[in-house]
């Protein structure tokens, strides 16, 4: 029988006005992979911050017992010294330093402050071998992809003699292949006796590698499942507190005239001027229709959408855009918005929200004239608009005066959606609208999309999740390498068909 490496007892953590965790229990056994799942905002990350000492001992209630001793971590250094290493969702690497420099940052092999680079490089090579990364230790971080960066983070953790490795959504930004490799690596670590805690939204991954799953909801431990009890349905039920028989809301499409038509749209790369990113795309969307754009990462979907939306991406953009049959000028964001086009970005934190301002100001930002007269804002009108959209999109917040930076991913997405709904567009382009948000919030976003379509808007959804496209759209375009390589009615489409279109398209392109 394996021994318990970590026990968190009755952890309670309160922030002003919010109880983030209440009496959470977590028991992890030596050498297992323990998954922690829960909706966004359920408290997973907070729990891990308590464990790693980001929230120092004394700022929470409860006990942490690690390898038989009660621990009072005052900071990350304390927990790392004991072999607990956390790898955050946002990687903490310095882009302009090399792999070796990053791995030993703050922990360099040095004598009297003079770094012994040979020793560092030799150690780095050994570590890279362990994680299966074939790169020169002197390569700069900025020159390797996200998947490899993740491996560097893990190598860094290994360099600290890790006993308990915590991964916070490690595969969120990885491709399918990189994700697989990472999960295999976790299994390899398990054989070597390293214990891992895996925080993930991707239930298939959890299913594949986890020995146990602890489910957290609303800051409480719901249950811990052993390997034999793990099933996606069971996890989903526990996560959302209800069973989601249907992951997509039912919808009666009522499709009308063509609203948006794009003809022969071509875009070149903003820096590499000779590289054509978008190659003559033709596409249309009709009133009340939800159109999907499927494709792999790097197919050019976001680039297409952003170039269409006020030339926010690329150079030498050519092609025509028609709205209700009339050609329109979309050469700047404000013109595009004026003509009734809205684009909801895939990266809400970087491109969508002012995180240091509250919900109200974010919602009205794209349509300030709608709450003002002669450039003077009507405060009351703005407040009622904000409250109205907060209700319509079901934003969970203490009030519209809550900072958007303090909201969970799903609620942030609803704020961005509200912003564009208030701009009252005819065509709404949603780029990965449910990325990084939990099952419950996803359903709410789908419901909003369905309602907008029934109100007669044309909606274009870009998504990498094929089941999502199949579930919510009426028609799907398949994009690959800057071209449309397939178009099909959602009712005829399947994941297989989409993949086949991509593969065939690839053959055609070369």
């Amino acid at each position: 029988m394996a021994s318990t490496i970590l026990e968190m007892r009755d952890i309670t953590k309160t922030f002003p006005g919010v109880k983030a965790l209440s009496n959470v229990k977590l028991m992890v056994e030596e050498g297992e992979i323990h998954a922690v799942v829960g909706e966004n905002g359920a408290g997973k990350s907070t729990l891990m911050k308590v464990l790693s000492g980001v929230y120092p001992s004394g700022t929470y209630d409860g006990q942490i017992i690690y390898r038989g001793d009660e621990c009072h971590f005052k900071g990350i250094h304390d927990s790392e010294r004991k072999g607990i290493v956390i790898i955050h969702q946002e990687l903490a690497l310095v882009p302009m330093l090399s792999i070796a420099e990053n791995i030993f940052l703050g922990n360099e092999h040095a004598r009297y402050g003079v770094i012994d680079w040979n020793a560092n490089e030799a150690r780095t090579s050994a570590l890279l071998k362990k994680v299966g990364l074939k790169e020169d230790p002197n390569t700069l971080i900025t020159n390797i992809g996200v998947g490899k960066q993740q491996l560097v983070e893990i190598a860094k953790a290994l360099s600290k003699e890790v006993k308990l490795l915590i991964l916070d959504e490690p595969t969120a930004s990885l491709s399918e292949k990189d994700s697989q490799a990472l999960l295999d690596l976790l299994l390899e670590f398990k054989r070597q006796g390293i214990t891992s805690i895996l925080i993930s939204h991707k239930l298939n991954e959890v299913n594949r590698v986890a020995d146990k799953v602890t489910i957290i909801r609303d800051g409480r431990t719901i249950e811990t499942l052993a390997k034999k009890d793990i099933s996606e349905d069971r996890i989903i039920t526990s996560m959302v507190g209800r069973s989601l028989d249907d992951r997509y809301p039912p919808r009666e499409p009522n499709i009308g005239e063509t609203v948006l038509e794009v003809k022969n749209w071509s875009v070149y790369h903003p820096i590499h001027a000779e590289r054509q990113v978008i190659k003559g795309i033709n596409l249309n969307a009709r009133k009340g229709e939800v159109v999907g754009i499927a494709g792999l990462m790097g197919a050019g979907r976001t680039e297409f959408a952003m170039s269409l939306f006020g030339r926010s991406y690329g150079r030498r953009i050519t092609g025509e855009v028609f709205l209700n049959g009339k050609p329109i000028d979309v050469s700047s964001v404000s013109k595009a918005v004026e003509h009734g086009i809205a684009y909801v970005t895939e990266d809400r934190k970087t491109y969508g929200l002012n995180l240091i301002d509250h919900i109200k100001h974010n919602i009205t930002l794209a349509n300030l004239p709608g709450v003002s007269r002669h450039g003077v804002i009507d405060d009351l009108r703005e407040l009622s608009v904000a409250n109205d959209y907060r209700g319509r999109t079901n934003i969970r917040a203490s009030s519209v005066y809550q900072m958007t930076g303090n909201l969970s991913g799903g609620n942030q997405q609803k704020v961005v959606l509200s912003k564009w709904l208030f701009a009252n567009p005819e065509v709404l382009i949603l780029d990965e609208p449910t990325r990084g948000i939990d099952v419950g919030a996803k359903y709410e976003i789908y419901t909003i999309i369905a309602r907008l379509a029934s109100e007669g808007k044309a909606i274009i959804v870009i998504s990498s999740e094929m089941p999502e496209l199949l579930g919510i759209t009426d028609r799907i375009y398949v994009m690959n390498e800057g071209r449309i390589v397939g178009e099909m009615a959602a009712s005829d489409a399947s994941q297989e068909k989409i993949m086949r279109a991509i593969v065939r398209g690839e053959g055609k392109a070369s």
Partner: protein, 430 residues
């Protein structure tokens, strides 16, 4: 984290009065930053009132204080927008010096005929200031050159031109009396003075200066109108919010706040009235402060500046023309730097090569003491103004106390650091 609860029909006045003190205290704690700054200013004023044995609030000194610091506050209004939009402007002191020199040359040296009229010169100078702002803003907005570098260059360039214009180390003056009124003038008493106690006449038949009590009536009237308008608009805004069922701040706190600010304002107005009335520069400053509060709080352009400073990419993708907005922020800064330069020259009565030297640092300090964030997106006009006054009162008070200029710098540095540390601490606690 904000502790404001969800808006809705609630907080009746009766209920409010009942729970008044408790709610007021909690609201006070919530808005510690906002009120804290004003309280700090009052505390500093009271402190110096004692240590200078009553000199600080003497009418003559109050007039001096306003005349010495108004240019800092005028420039701080522009700097606030620059800093909120995520930039910095190091050139304002040099631009002010250059504009002062330009104004003096136009009025005193160059044979411009009717164009050397102070009003015409002032207008030309403001336009030149705007052009300087546009020139710097162009590189910052459209070529994405960091503002720190562009304005550092501007700081060197305009200080150099200022000195060259004045022909090396010499000063140019005296400036016309009409121009000097911008800084040292007082508003005329249109309604007529009110003598409450006739001045004492000495044996030689001369009146003793400072004896008796004569009030500048126009000043009193302006003060009363301003205070009444402040209370009226405050009350009206509350009413509208309540009528629409939105929560306003607790009534008790509103009353206390309005009374304290009104009393303070009336006291200062009274002090001015016993001397020569309101300084012209104070009126200019007051109008500008009101204008900038309105622009930042109520106008779409103000909102857009905050959004741009908070997240420039998101603002751009929301249809905000960030380049043009940045350019406008710097043009505004240029115009206000020029006005600052005119005020400095008018106060000195001449243009000197070192006019405004180092004042960019005071201006920037005022904005940061006032709670603006160096990262952009955060900051209030009133904060910057109060920050400017805090610096001014400390300068003035320490000078009267006879504190060495070197040590004055040390104290000002500590206050700047303290204010920002307080801010960050407060934010982390929340």
């Amino acid at each position: 984290m904000s502790t404001e609860s969800a808006p809705g029909p609630q907080t009746g006045v009766a209920q409010d009065l009942q729970q008044g003190p408790r709610i007021a205290v909690s609201a006070l704690v919530t808005n510690l930053r906002e009120y804290g700054l004003v309280l700090a200013l009052i505390a500093i004023m009271v402190f110096f009132q004692f240590t200078t044995s009553g000199t600080l609030f003497k009418p003559v000194n109050l007039s001096n204080l306003v005349q010495q610091n108004s240019f800092i506050i005028v420039m701080a209004l522009g700097m606030l927008l620059v800093i909120v939009s995520g930039h910095i402007d190091l050139s304002v002191g040099s631009v002010a010096g250059f504009i002062g020199a330009l104004a003096a040359m136009m009025m005193v040296i160059w044979p411009l005929g009717p164009l050397s009229n102070p009003l015409v010169v002032s207008i030309i100078c403001l336009v030149v200031g705007g052009a300087i702002g546009a020139a710097q803003g162009y590189w910052i907005a459209y070529h994405r050159i960091p503002s720190f570098i562009v304005t550092l260059a501007g700081m060197l360039i305009f200080r150099g031109i200022c000195q060259a214009l004045l022909g090396g180390g010499s000063s140019v003056g005296p400036l016309p009396v009409g121009f000097k009124a911008l800084s040292s003038g007082f508003i005329p008493d249109l309604i007529g003075p009110l003598t409450l106690i006739p001045p004492t006449v000495n044996a030689a038949g001369k009146t003793i200066v400072g004896s008796g009590l004569t009030l500048h009536l126009t000043t009193i009237v302006i003060g009363l109108v301003a205070v009444l308008a402040y209370a009226y608009f405050g009350l009206r805004a509350r009413r509208t919010r309540e009528k629409h069922g939105y929560e306003a701040e607790p009534f008790s706190l509103f009353v206390v706040k309005t009374l304290v600010i009104s009393a303070l304002a009336l006291f200062l107005v009274y002090q001015f009235a016993t001397y020569r009335g309101l300084p012209i520069v104070l009126m200019v400053m007051g109008v500008l402060i009101a204008l900038f509060v309105f622009v930042t709080k109520r106008m779409t352009i103000g909102r857009r500046i905050y959004a741009m400073g908070g997240n420039a990419k998101a603002a751009q993708l929301s249809g905000i023309k960030t380049e043009r907005l940045t350019l406008m922020v710097f043009i505004n800064m240029g115009v206000l730097s020029a006005l600052g330069g005119l005020i400095i020259a008018a106060r000195l009565g001449q243009a000197v090569p070192a006019a405004g030297l180092g004042s960019e640092l005071d201006v920037i300090a005022a904005v940061f003491i006032g709670g603006a964030s160096a990262m952009g997106g955060v900051g209030q006009v009133i904060g910057a103004v109060v920050g400017g006054f805090i610096m001014g009162v400390m300068n003035n008070g320490m000078s009267i106390m006879g504190v060495n200029v070197d040590w004055q710098q040390v104290v000002k540095g500590l206050v700047l650091l303290g204010a920002v540390v307080f801010d960050v601490y407060n934010k982390n606690k929340a």
